[in-house]
Structure formats: structure tokens, C-alpha cells
């Protein structure tokens, strides 16, 4: 039996009366690189954001390393009431890092301070140790020359690489990427994708929501096609992109790659 680092069971998510996720089950093994594709409104970003509880689940369960996140305090018919304490969520987020579409860097801090912040404030490391780690991670994303720059002085691609350094500095077991290149100018997309690719080669467990199908094809060990709040089809990159079983998947991929070179 495979040991799963993250397991999702019967996940649903509603915003008011609008059900965005309609029951998702997923097992993720260590070292998997999962690309999540799908049209806008398919729920792919919401799904990713549920995994580190940027959104709270409406129903369903998430297990991290076999332990269920949150405490079930009762049942209301079929629906469990689960309490997610702030402390639990902070612990989960230390282990499940996230990179956002809009970077969400702290504009009042330098590049170095951005990366050091979590190490000092959350992990309680000394400034010296945090600085060492931060510099090493920033070297990894090729930004060691920008330590003292502020986010506003960087290009979008550089900002996103700082955000990646900030996330990996926390040594998360899983990394989530929420459309990391969608707000970048086309010529800056490559540098960010290369950085993500390097991380994948290190054997990290990663989930990536993306519109860059070419990258997903080369990068992912598994591809999920989300449609209407469910995993419509999944398989290896080869299976999904070259031989999709569902007509809907086929149509999505054809539409998305219509104008590619």
C-alpha cells in the first residue's frame, strides 16, 4: 500500500448557496507533482485553497500524514461539525506552503526580510540562522543579488520567485501553487516555471493549478482535470494530454492549445 502524505475525502465547498466543489477525493503520495487544470469556474483554485485552509471546507475531511485535520465535535444528520482551531491551521500551513497568483509579498519588507519573516516569527529561529536559510533559498531562486531590494523594485517574475523562496524557506512537506504565472507578462513566465521545475526535480510534493498546459505536460507526474467542482478525469500527463478518455477533457485541451506554436 502506498503511504499517502495528503488525503482528501468527500470535499465540498459552498459559498452561500453556490456549491463550487461537489465532492472531491484524492490521495497524494510523497514526491508527486500534480497539475490541476480546468476551465474558469471549475473550482480548481478553490480546491487548492482548501488544502491549506485558506478556505474552510463545507463538508469532507483532509488527512495530513494520516492524521485528520480538525476535531469532529458532533454530527448534524449526515454532516459532521468540525472545529478547526487557529493553532491547528497554523500548524497545517507550516507544513503545506502556498504560492499565490498575486505573490502577496510584504511590500514594507525587503526581499530578505520577506523570506526571513516566517522563519523568525513562526518557527522562532534566531535572526542569524533565519538569514542563512533565507539567503540560501534566495540563491536557489537566483535572487541573491536582490536581498536588500523591496518588492516594488522587482519585476513580476522576480517577485514571484521571492514568494517561492519565502514558501520553501519554511521547509513545507507539500507546496501549493495557485496559478503562479497567471499575472505575469508572457516573457516572465519562463523564469518562474523553471524555478518551479527545479523544485520538482528535488523530489518535493507539489500541486500546481495552471493554465500553462505545456508546462503541466512536462512537469506533472499526475494531471487532474476539474470540471464543475469534480475531478472529471485524471491520469498521467501522457494519458490526459495525448489520450483523454472524456470528450470534455479532449475539448478543453484542444481549446486551450488552439493558438500554441
Amino acid at each position: 500500500m502506498k503511504n499517502h502524505i495528503l488525503k482528501v475525502e468527500g470535499l465540498t465547498k459552498s459559498f452561500g448557496t453556490n456549491q463550487v466543489l461537489k465532492g472531491i477525493d484524492l490521495d497524494i503520495a510523497p514526491g508527486e507533482r500534480i497539475a490541476i487544470i480546468g476551465g474558469s469556474g471549475s473550482g480548481k483554485s478553490t480546491f487548492l485553497r482548501c488544502l491549506n485552509f485558506m478556505e474552510t471546507l463545507t463538508t469532507g475531511a483532509i488527512y495530513l500524514d494520516g492524521t485528520r485535520i480538525g476535531r469532529v465535535v458532533g454530527k448534524d444528520g449526515d454532516k459532521e461539525s468540525v472545529v478547526y482551531s487557529p493553532r491547528t491551521l497554523c500548524d497545517v500551513r507550516k507544513r503545506v506552503g502556498m504560492v499565490f497568483q498575486q505573490f502577496n509579498l510584504f511590500p514594507h519588507m525587503s526581499v530578505l526580510q520577506n523570506v526571513m519573516e516566517g522563519l523568525v516569527t513562526v518557527l522562532g529561529k534566531s535572526k542569524g540562522e533565519a538569514r542563512q536559510i533565507a539567503e540560501a533559498e534566495l540563491t536557489k531562486v537566483a535572487l541573491h543579488e536582490k536581498l536588500d531590494a523591496f518588492p516594488s523594485q522587482l519585476s513580476g517574475g522576480q517577485q514571484q520567485r521571492v514568494a517561492i523562496a519565502r514558501a520553501i524557506a519554511m521547509s513545507p512537506e507539500i507546496l501549493l501553487f495557485d496559478e503562479p504565472t497567471s499575472s505575469l507578462d508572457p516573457e516572465l513566465v519562463g523564469e518562474v516555471l523553471r524555478t518551479i521545475n527545479t523544485l520538482g526535480e528535488e523530489g518535493r510534493t507539489m500541486l500546481l493549478v495552471t493554465h500553462e498546459l505545456g508546462f503541466a505536460y512536462r512537469f506533472a507526474t499526475r494531471v487532474l482535470f476539474l470540471y464543475d467542482g469534480k475531478i472529471h478525469e485524471q491520469g498521467t500527463a501522457e494519458e490526459i494530454f495525448k489520450n483523454p478518455q472524456s470528450e470534455r477533457t479532449r475539448a478543453f485541451i484542444a481549446r486551450s492549445s488552439e493558438f500554441s506554436l
Binding site: C90, F100, F106, V122, M170
Partner: protein, 220 residues
């Protein structure tokens, strides 16, 4: 017939003007200090997830926003002794009225600045495992503080001008001095012109200072 201005007799009363100015500065300073503290507490309540903190804080702010300032002065000075048997001097009543009302305005200054920051800043903090409080302290407040400066100065000017309402409680601030001098000299036009000039000089000096502080803060 042209009015004959005579500032001489009025200006001869300068010690009384000075005393009034002192009274104005005293209640302004106390009320700003206390108002900021109370305002921060109420802002925390208004932004709390707990309804029993959030709702009363909201009512408080709505109350002060929708009632005229002078009513608060009268309440503390005239009504409180009758309904609750709490008696206080004009200074205490004026400070309480000013503090409680400026707290509601400062609360909105703080809250407005905090809410003006994009949600992504909270999420950026949360994503690396920071608690809400850590994110507030390390990420949100340092940025919000800069956005508070302008509205804060604006509100403080309003507060300083509102101190003139304390004259209705016979508290010895600038306007009360003016009433007295006016009664002695029969020169109300000159007296109130001088008062206006004193307010103008005071606030204009403050605004020059404030502009300098603002520029320094926002250019870091």
C-alpha cells in the same frame, strides 16, 4: 457709518486669552491621548469575529457618528448628575465628552486603514503559518499606519476645534475666555476675530508640522 475697529482694549486682555489657549490645549491633549487608546480598543472590537464584541462597538460608533457633539457635553455635565448621581467638574465632563466622541472617530480611522489593505496580505501571512495576531502586528499594522496618518491628522484638527464646545460648560478654554473678554470690553467683533486668528495660527502650525511628519513617514 464704518465700524471703528479697536483691538487695543481687547489685546490688553492677553493674559485671559493665554489662559484660554492653555485650557484648550489641555483638554485637546488629554482627549487625543485617551481617544486614541479607546479608539484602538473599539476598533479591535469592531473587527473582532466575536459578535458580542463587534455589535456593541458598532453601536458605539454609530451613536457618536449620528449625534451632535454638544449633546455629549450636556449629557456628561448636566444629565449624568441627575440620572446616575455622578457629578464632575467642567474639565472632567469636557474631557469625557471629547474622548468618547473622538474615540469613535479614531476607531474608524484605524479600521478604515486596516480594511484598505488587500486580503492577500492577510493570506500571505497565514500561508507561512502566522497567526492572525502575528499577521496584524508584523504585516498589516506597519502598512496601515502609513495610511492612517492623513485621516488621523484630519480628525485631530476636528477634535481641536470641537474643544470650543467646552465653553458651554463654563470650562475655561479659548472661546470661554472670549465670551468673558467680550462682556468686559463690549468688543465682540474684535474678540472673535482674535480668537479666530489664534485658532488659525495654532492649527496652521500643527498642519505644517503634520505635513512634515507625513512626508517623512511616507517616503521611507
Amino acid at each position: 457709518m464704518a465700524y471703528e475697529w479697536d483691538f487695543g482694549v481687547v489685546l490688553a486682555q492677553w493674559p485671559l486669552f493665554l489662559k484660554g489657549l492653555g485650557g484648550t490645549l489641555l483638554i485637546a491633549a488629554i482627549s487625543i491621548g485617551l481617544g486614541v487608546i479607546l479608539g484602538a480598543i473599539i476598533a479591535t472590537g469592531r473587527m473582532s469575529r466575536l459578535a458580542w464584541l463587534r455589535i456593541p462597538a458598532g453601536i458605539y460608533v454609530d451613536f457618536y457618528r449620528n449625534t451632535p457633539g454638544i449633546v455629549h457635553f450636556f449629557w456628561f455635565y448636566y444629565a449624568l448628575p441627575i440620572v446616575a448621581d455622578i457629578r464632575m467638574g467642567p474639565l472632567e465632563a469636557a474631557v469625557l465628552a471629547l474622548t468618547t466622541q473622538s474615540a469613535s472617530f479614531y476607531c474608524e480611522v484605524f479600521r478604515g486603514a486596516i480594511l484598505s489593505l488587500p486580503k492577500g496580505q492577510w493570506e500571505g501571512g497565514a500561508a507561512i503559518g502566522m497567526t492572525r495576531f502575528q499577521t496584524l502586528r508584523r504585516v498589516i499594522l506597519p502598512q496601515a499606519a502609513l495610511r492612517m496618518v492623513g485621516p488621523f491628522i484630519e480628525r485631530t484638527f476636528e477634535l481641536i476645534k470641537t474643544t470650543s464646545l467646552a465653553s458651554t460648560l463654563a470650562y475655561g478654554e479659548l472661546l470661554y475666555s472670549a465670551t468673558q473678554i467680550s462682556a468686559q470690553t463690549y468688543r465682540p467683533m474684535e474678540v472673535y476675530t482674535v480668537v479666530a486668528l489664534i485658532y488659525f495660527c495654532l492649527l496652521f502650525t500643527f498642519s505644517l508640522l503634520a505635513r512634515r511628519v507625513e512626508r517623512r513617514l511616507t517616503h521611507v
